[in-house]
Subunit: 430 residues, 2 copies
């Protein structure tokens, strides 16, 4: 199946700004509510949202084996379950429909009225019903930073870390799309020097700069996925802010791992950029020493050069970029993560999500969390309004962006943007 | 809403053996495939399965506000989402329909043919689509045993254990109903004294004797559930075997918790026994010292006296009971678990499942895992065929049962029964 949708020379008859994340070579998938209060599956070119449900009803996907209602759903799960061949046929067709050389839809005013929306006419939804969400801990720089802070440089990495992609299960129910605010969580913490825990608002709310991939139906229970096949089951990626309450996490996490310090919220960017669209941006993964066990060994470029950044916008102020990182820094790539996750026979389904863990780079300005950027609160970051931050304040908005770029083509993820609100007040809110 | 379904004096016109787990006072809910290959929601009295979809279509639930297709579904999620008032109306009505004094259905041969099934005519399914699965670690005896084995008696309980119900997220996709076999998982382990990890079949496959509760839609993101309200959101309970590969778990679990050592499979009993049916079996929880923080304090009997047992049946042999425990031993009760889980605003939905963690009692024969029963493999348990077990062998079947009993009434859960098969062989199985 050729990836004609990736043709870098193609231009669209829809207007696309030069610095847009969404040229006709991207064609991401998302779910949105239209001006008519209908939920549909869609894509985006430039600043135009495209209703794929309407496109399909009007016959533009003729010849592609799709059920009638495949895009008239409130999640992408069924479409993703159709598999890679179908994703490619649909993405290639969309590229053809919106190609500057193709005037069929371009000159059909009535169809355009049904199919095309300005961004301010739609409201992006969570694109998938996430069955299970796993978060890895795959950046060596991040694991080393956190380990150094809590156990010293000598014992920074746990003995297993270089041998397997450490991961843990997260909470699906609290994953929300960009734009939905998050309340500062309350919980139990053990203050330094205290002899008994206390209850109250977390004082150390943090972001984690991550990416996450969405899978299709991959295996039956009991059947491992060989690493060479793993990427076949990855539909696409999103930006992911894995909100963390460091003080709650610190007290609760031994011995079974993080729980309430994480599951109050995780925010994702709403457009899933397909692995296909990222093909031109493959790069080698970091060298692995020691060499992993054979089920984790693979050939070829399995990492992706995706620029990432996080910024903080205090209420009423401009945003300040606090870190710049890159998805390619991950020590354990996605194929390794998926092969490891299923080596025991754990089933992976359409709509499952796997986060990378915080992606920190080698330099101090590339660390992917305030925990690392403020080095456990020992230094402050300057905001544009002159205030300083060690962690996230009430009413701050955290914004993450990601994009790939080579000569001429930019494929981006848009952003995940989330405001932190004060502790939920049931009296005030009821 | 009176709980007339619990009337201990009621007898059914359906035959019920004296030692049955499913008298007319139980009325659990499940999902089954019928002889006509139709999936339906049902209940059970004695050894008769009752198709609730058919009962509803034939008008037996007239007057109860139910959508037409509420029981013609392959999961209980929507029915559970209807809330406690509806569950009670339906359970009370079922009790009336099958009351020995009521001859309407009893004498309607044609209706009975559509509604009633022998157990060998149906195949039990997973009763809910589990959105999120959390496992707690709520038995003090279990946590103390495991802590003593790995850290010594002095440091058995972690500092947080007596202050909060420690829990972690599990994998929903690998939860299977009773009767589905499980393959021995493969994975990475670090043998004692080795300098590098090895890959291969787990050598220490274990069961964990647990119960799990199923929730209804409980809260929106950001909103805690007060402990006094928590039980309103618990639909019912099942027996739960949280399969564990101890050697995989030991190597992987630091610092983010168990992962592949757990997510290859967890088995549940197929009939959900409602919290309402368990009302007569409430007991006080164990005394808590230190007193927990106020969000974890509640009044009244919040624990349940449920006898539990696990047995092992080698291939071709009779089963040997290896432990007898009780749900009432749990230090942290379900209301505390649910209040803790949501205190940070984590949303809980219809069909979510929360496991108790291994339920061990105070005596050596009440420990809920082979890890404890064999005390880390230092002693063996005798099987009926003369062989011995420290952990679970290939082709062994693990059976768990649970029931409550007082003068005259027995409310049981049936069983969860799972055979362990050898490592999955893709050549053999394809």
């Amino acid at each position: 199946m050729p990836l004609s949708a990736n043709n870098p020379d193609r231009i669209s008859w829809l207007h696309v700004n030069k610095d847009s994340d969404f040229p006709i070579q991207n064609i991401p998938f998302g779910v949105f509510l239209t001006r008519d209060d209908i939920i549909t599956i869609g894509t985006r070119i430039g600043d135009t949202a495209i209703d794929l449900g309407a496109l399909h009803q009007l016959g533009y996907f003729e010849g592609i084996p799709l059920t009638d209602d495949i895009f008239l759903q409130d999640t992408l799960n069924d479409f993703i379950a159709d598999g890679r061949k179908t994703w490619r046929l649909v993405r290639n067709r969309i590229a053809e429909i919106f190609d500057a050389e193709n005037s069929t839809l371009k000159h059909h005013t009535k169809h355009k009225e049904t199919i095309l929306f300005r961004l301010d006419e739609i409201e992006m939804q969570l694109p998938v019903q996430i069955g299970d969400y796993t978060d890895f801990y795959a950046s060596k720089e991040h694991a080393t930073n956190v380990g150094t802070m809590f156990r010293g440089a000598e014992n920074a990495l746990m003995p297993n870390w270089l041998h397997l992609p450490v991961g843990y299960h997260g909470r699906s129910s609290s994953i929300i799309p960009s734009g939905i605010p998050v309340h500062r969580p309350q919980g139990q913490t053990m203050p330094d020097g205290a002899t008994a825990p206390v209850f109250g608002p977390s004082k150390l709310v943090d972001f984690e700069l991550e990416m996450a991939f969405i899978t299709t139906d991959a295996n039956d229970i009991g059947e491992p996925i060989p690493i060479e096949e793993a990427e076949e089951y990855i539909f696409g990626l999103v930006l992911f802010n894995d909100w963390s309450a460091r003080d709650i996490q610190k007290w609760e996490y031994v011995p079974l791992g993080p729980f309430l310090g994480k599951n109050f919220a995780s925010s994702m960017s709403p457009w899933i950029v397909t692995l296909d669209a990222l093909e031109p941006f493959r790069v080698e993964s970091p060298e692995q020493n020691p060499k992993p066990l054979s089920y984790l060994q693979s050939n070829g470029k399995k990492s992706f050069d995706i620029n990432l950044e996080a910024s903080i916008q205090p209420k009423g102020a401009k945003e300040a970029t606090v870190c710049k990182s890159n998805f390619k820094y991950m020590y354990w790539n996605m194929a390794q993560q998926l092969a490891h996750h299923t080596v025991n026979g754990c089933p992976v389904n359409s709509g499952d999500m796997m986060g990378s863990g915080t992606i920190s780079g080698p330099t101090e300005d590339s660390y992917g969390s305030m925990l690392e950027l403020s080095w456990k609160g020992t230094k402050s970051l300057k905001m544009k309004d002159g205030t300083e931050r060690k962690f996230i304040n009430d009413y701050d908005t955290v914004i993450m962006r990601g994009y790939c770029e080579n000569d001429g083509t930019r494929i981006g993820f848009g952003s995940v943007k989330t405001q932190l609100l004060p502790v939920f007040n049931s009296k005030k809110n009821n």
